[in-house]
Assembly symmetry: C2
Homo-oligomer: 209 residues x 2
């Protein structure tokens, strides 16, 4: 019964359009993408595109919203208490590395660039990306920080402040480099791992017990 339902034709077309739209918008931007090109790359008639999404703007908003929503889903849902043994450094390093490996992905970096470039035209999309990205991560991390402090493993008086500091300690450098230097300049997994370990050391020097 959990057999993946054969998607209807309409649904297949819809997905084809969204897939093509993702490729085009991420590469060429909002204004740089034409609906004719989109229809062609979707192997779908222009009419069908408009039947499904109404307008270029609607399609764009729907696409970006959907990409934004499920970005870090698997990352913050696991609110299992953060392991058990007293290895706070190991836990934070692992957390940082996980987060980096998700965020520093070409798809998400391009999305971020696109949304930043369109802040003036689509401020709500940018706010949504902020909410579902950094804000969500920090909120989730703050819970962890509070829990660690409670157990005497951390000396953070303000868990939100600690979470914010750690978050940007982790993301600041790689993110800002990636924004301007392109996807090709993203450090490899090993370098990210080292970065995670390094910022954890700095963080614990200030917030450790």
């Amino acid at each position: 019964m959990t057999a993946t339902k054969e998607p209807t034709r309409s649904e297949r077309k819809r997905r084809a359009i969204l897939a093509a739209a993702e490729g085009l918008f991420l590469r060429n931007g909002y204004l740089g993408t034409s609906m004719d090109e989109l229809a062609e790359r979707s192997a779908v008639s222009k009419q069908t595109v408009y039947a499904h999404f109404g307008s270029k703007e609607s399609l764009f908003v729907e696409l970006v919203s959907s990409m934004t929503g499920g970005a870090g889903d698997g990352l913050h849902d696991r609110d299992e208490p953060p392991a058990l043994d007293g290895d706070v450094a190991g836990y934070l390093t692992r957390y940082a590395a996980d987060e980096l490996s998700v965020v520093m992905t070409p798809r998400l970096l391009k999305l971020r660039r696109l949304v930043i470039g369109e802040v003036e035209r689509f401020p709500d999309l940018a706010r949504a990306l902020y909410e579902n990205g950094p804000a969500r991560a920090i909120r989730s991390l703050a819970v962890t920080m509070a829990s660690l402090t409670e157990r005497g493993l951390l000396g953070a008086v303000d868990p939100v402040e600690a979470a914010t500091t750690f978050n940007w300690l982790v993301m600041g450098a790689p993110m800002n480099e990636a924004m301007l230097l392109g996807d090709g300049a993203v450090p490899d997994a090993e370098a990210l791992q080292q970065h995670a370990a390094h910022v954890t050391r700095v963080f614990l020097a200030a917030y450790g017990v």
Copy 2:
């Protein structure tokens, strides 16, 4: 003799065009700006625009390059040895606050958004912004870090690493928020000052003597 030379007509027109271009490109983006609108806002004929800059692309590149170049000029040129007394915290806090007050400016934030949004189309402009912004700041700061370490005021083994860490500790949070939340969300001077003091405390906990 240092009397500011009366600018020639040609020069006045040129500046009017650049001024209008700055306003339009920063607000509407590259593709969103039309040359007709530009000519009108410059109070100049379209022919004159093309006589001066040749093409939309040339104008854009020249404008962004000039805005990028002189961004943090007054900030890193003063390579005076960092004050004298042992108040490292005070010095770093002041440095951080100064840098923030320059970078967190609507004009520079809009420029950054524009360039990030056009990374695909104009990768060289993005690289130039990176070089003249973060890279330059970090290089300059690394010299300071080395000097402080030499004098026994800091325990930084690798001055570049220390400078990089401090730089993003300072810029990470406000910059990334500003990119997505718009110019209206930039913290006021007092909040930035507090942020500078806070990150300095964190930094010195890890790198202090």
